[in-house]
């Protein structure tokens, strides 16, 4: 571009920007040019011409193996069995096991507040203890009819934001809800829906952080005033 053409383009851009801002902005002095990066070629050369790569969203845990870290082996075995019972695979849709829900919940609970963690660990421990007491076997080894005797008495209908307050009722009903949601929100479920000719049901507008703080290490701590 000739210098004259470049200046004309810059003028037009400035006028457009000022019009869009309702002439509110005062004339801005152009910033001093940045020092060129060392080396024979400016490092950003050509970047503006690059087209976005056709990378589709891909959840890593839909391909990769994951290591569970939060639940004990016994608790995880109970959770797996709960997943099998509460969200089994359908004819054309994956169940919670196929959707990697036990491993996902192990991750989610591992980074959750303590009261939520304890709800799950105590709830799973109680299922294990009641199964041993009642049937002499681990919960993970119970037949569906046996497990039902341990689950059904605690099931409740409830309204959003108001799950049951009894701790074990809370666990059973929240686990039922979490296992369904984690299955529906998995990549495996979305792909199954697309394969059935349906749109993936879990699309929504995701908002990125908007002007996040520049000094987050200072800004994001709950500050106690120093006396």
């Amino acid at each position: 571009m000739q210098r004259r053409d470049f200046m004309k383009a810059m003028m037009a851009a400035t006028v457009t920007a000022r019009a869009a801002m309702g002439e509110q902005a005062a004339p801005v002095k152009p910033p001093a040019p940045a020092m060129p990066a060392p080396g024979p070629v400016p490092w950003t050369r050509g970047l503006s011409a690059v087209q976005p790569l056709p990378i589709s969203p891909l959840a890593a845990d839909s391909i990769a193996g994951v290591e569970t870290q939060f639940f004990s082996d016994r608790q995880l075995a109970s959770l797996r069995h709960l997943c099998e019972l509460m969200m089994p695979a359908g004819n054309a849709t994956p169940g919670a096991i196929e959707a990697g829900v036990p491993e996902f919940l192990d991750f989610l609970l591992g980074v959750s507040p303590k009261d939520r963690q304890e709800s799950y660990t105590r709830g799973l421990d109680r299922l294990e203890s009641e199964a041993r007491q009642k049937f002499g076997i681990s919960f993970a080894d119970t037949k569906a009819a046996q497990a039902d005797q341990l689950i059904r008495p605690w099931l409740r209908s409830w309204m959003s934001d108001h799950p049951p307050s009894d701790p074990h009722e809370y666990f059973i009903n929240i686990a039922n809800s979490d296992i369904r949601t984690a299955t529906h929100n998995s990549q495996q479920w979305a792909e199954a829906e697309v394969a059935r000719g349906l749109h993936a049901p879990d699309m929504d507008v995701y908002w990125y952080p908007i002007d996040p703080l520049l000094h987050s290490e200072e800004g994001h701590a709950l500050k106690r005033r120093s006396n």
């Binding site: 509460m86 089994p88 989610l108 929100n185 879990d202 507008v205 995701y206 908007i210 000094h215």
Partner: protein
Amino acid sequence: MADETVDVLIIGSGHSGGMAAKILTEKGISCLMLNAGPVADIHRDAELKPAYSLPYRGFNKPGQLKHVFQSNEFNANTWVDEKEVPYTYDEGKPYNWVRVRLFGGRSLFWSRQSFRLSDFEFKSKSHDGFGEDWPISLADMDPYYSRVEAIFRVSGEANGIAQYPDGNFVPDTSPWSGCMQRLINAAKPMGVPVTKARSSMGVDGLASSVNLLLPDAFKTGKLKAIPNVVVRELGIDKNTGHVNRAYFVDRLTGREMSVKARVIVLAAGTLESTRLLLNSKIANSSGVMGHYLMDQIYGAGINCSVPEARDGKGTPGLMGGGALIPRFRNIDTRAKGFLRGYALNVFSSTGPVGAHNFAAYGAELEHKLASYHGSGFSFGIMGEVLGRYENHVSIDKDVVDAWGIPALKIDTKYTDNEFNMARDAVDTSIAMAEAAGFEVLSKNYDPNPPGYSIHELGTCRMGNDPKTSVLNKWNQSHDAKNLFVIDGSGFTSAGWQNPTMTILALAMRSSEYLAEQMRQGNV
């Protein structure tokens, strides 16, 4: 160094700040608007994504935004970060302070329900002896409501019900669906009116400060605005008692600045406006600033199913649509156990029924969900919370936000009046649903924590007596004549109604008064 004196400084850009900017600039008055957060651009800041591609599969990031029940992983970044701007409360008295600091504030996200207060609210003490009457009446507000309703294009139907005043509506002539007609028939013998919902249609579905108010203000050339600046304190001229300066901090860099102003219009949202005034230690000769915090009870209600709509039999004529049951308690008779009243939001659904409505799991639950799909019908309360002196906010001297500004401590709780009201709402909903032939699937008597409705009101209430109120009937400080507080903090009572139309009408009314006072040289 520039140290201009602006004519009117407006703090906040939501419905009330936007209305002030529109009215004042259209009368030729120059305004500067400060907003604590950034400008959001959906084309730049948002993207359509599947839940599975989010870090937590669409679950909220654990522990983040624990007071914002409305949040999810998709929209989490639009709410105020509770670590960036903390607030406190005593254990056992939780409060859900739900905040948006984006330019346009909470006018970007609201339910569009558009109601007028009636004289059962403006003159509530005269009706039942509790609290205080407002210093204004519906007759004072009527012309402003009408103009606001025209700007926001409120759809509705005139019903001629005194406690549910009619307005300047885009007529809603849609027919009732079959299930709604059944509710109307069931409610009538109980003396319960069922009416069309009233809703702001706005433009292209958006009814916000950023598309209905601020563009008009910018068009005048009289409005300048600075996003991402957090006001720390207001300064006062000790000789005149007038506010004269706002001290603020650049949100991103922490750089401290201030601006001089002839008039300051505070529109930061109920509790942020009060927090700023308390931190500034001004305008509180009455001692009631921070007190009489109110909102509305939400969360109590029932979910039902219309049996005839199950198993794929729900036709568009039978299902769909919503209704509003306006307050019907304590109008001509006295309800047992509570003062004032509540409204009910009623919806019927042609979509899925939530799994939590069934005490079932696995294949049994899937079967029920398939059978009940398209048969949902729900009732939800919007109930008035009484204004009590002891429900208040103050400054927590031990906690500061990301910029060192002292945080707000909120001390409020519901009383038997609210709990009894919620119980009556649920029991009455069940009676109406069963009379209509619906199956009740789930019910909840417990209101959500205070604040959940995002309708926090009061704490700078208006009144005629400077000894018992912070603002006069023009939303003007009794103490500092060039200070106006025009958001929900001026409410004297809460009512059951979504307060947005009243906030807008008050902002319009007080801004016109301010413009006239400036013209006459009184301010």
